[in-house]
Symmetry: C3
Subunit: 160 residues, 3 copies
Amino acid sequence: MNHIGETMSVYDKLKEKNITLAAPATPAAAYVMYVQTGNLVFVSGHIAKNADGSVNTGILGRDKTTEQGQDAARSVAIDLIGTLQEACGGDLLRVKRIVKVMSLVASTPDYNEQHLVTNGCSELIGEIFGDAGKHARSAFGVASLPRGTCVEIELIAEIA
Amino acid sequence: MNHIGETMSVYDKLKEKNITLAAPATPAAAYVMYVQTGNLVFVSGHIAKNADGSVNTGILGRDKTTEQGQDAARSVAIDLIGTLQEACGGDLLRVKRIVKVMSLVASTPDYNEQHLVTNGCSELIGEIFGDAGKHARSAFGVASLPRGTCVEIELIAEIA
Amino acid sequence: MNHIGETMSVYDKLKEKNITLAAPATPAAAYVMYVQTGNLVFVSGHIAKNADGSVNTGILGRDKTTEQGQDAARSVAIDLIGTLQEACGGDLLRVKRIVKVMSLVASTPDYNEQHLVTNGCSELIGEIFGDAGKHARSAFGVASLPRGTCVEIELIAEIA
């Protein structure tokens, strides 16, 4: 499939998965949700939330299973895509490439499946954006996260 | 206020706050304090120091309060701006945008106010640079930091 | 020495150090090992491995000495350079600058020599790439890493 064919189907894929994008959250502090410089958009770290909007808290290896972490990472991906849509002036078809994902997983010293947790985000991005969704990535275990969230993810994208 | 008006007042704002910028510190290891590529400057992680130049050590949630962490983050912001000034050949008016801040806060597993700590940095940047200081950001809790510092912050800026 | 003279000697320096570059590892998850956008290559976090290909596990301050951590960081640098070579279509002479290194060191709360561990990577990059190897850097202690590795490092490079 050509580049245009792929990007044209982003919204079809979101619909197919029954995903509704939300407007970006208000930053919890003195920053903004994304900044564009040249063709790159730097999206701020987004924290995991529950369906009711409350913070999805916990530490992997203590309070959460890997599967629960994956669900959290998937929910963050949806929020990241929502912010990215706003960064694109409402049109995700302008996303040329998801360049890089950095995923922070609140972890005990002996928990070591941060890569599997982060797949919850990476796989959704791959499904939605196709080849344009193939991204570089770092995933690691942090001591703790703002507001006690279990997962925080940031993203760099190239847009047209 | 227009873009030029804003950037012209960076030095006035520093003076108003009685902030004197220092020359960049010598790296503690085999790297440099910043690298420019295209219009982007990547500034290395800067650690928090005390007024006497010693390392500001401690772990949030164990040795330091959130307010002390904010003061540390503010001091790092001043050092980052000093390095950025050197990256701009001595002229901060060339800063078009603070693109991204990454803030590492040494934290216990149950400390979750890294976003408030990091505001010590983000708010100063906003006050000094105005609209050009509105940055994307990630803040998180790390197990520990080089030389035992409580806060380490890195920055990406776009310069003219 | 001029820029061309420097970059031409990258392979001589690798040979001198008896370093053989390997093809990039298969990602352990749903991502790719690098993405190029404009002249920048974002290389994914690479984890430390033993000579037999198994994961080099452990936590600094508990299971590993600083010197062992440095060896691990050096081995990661070799793998990063191997991936970078592939990103350059097989020709490392196209590397204009190693822009930025981010180094994650699995650490206890009281371990604070992450900068020394990371020198194992930074010094090798400096030796191989000369002036083009002088990079910005952040190094910090994380709670734990994917598959239990002791060190994970990612890199941004500018290529011609």
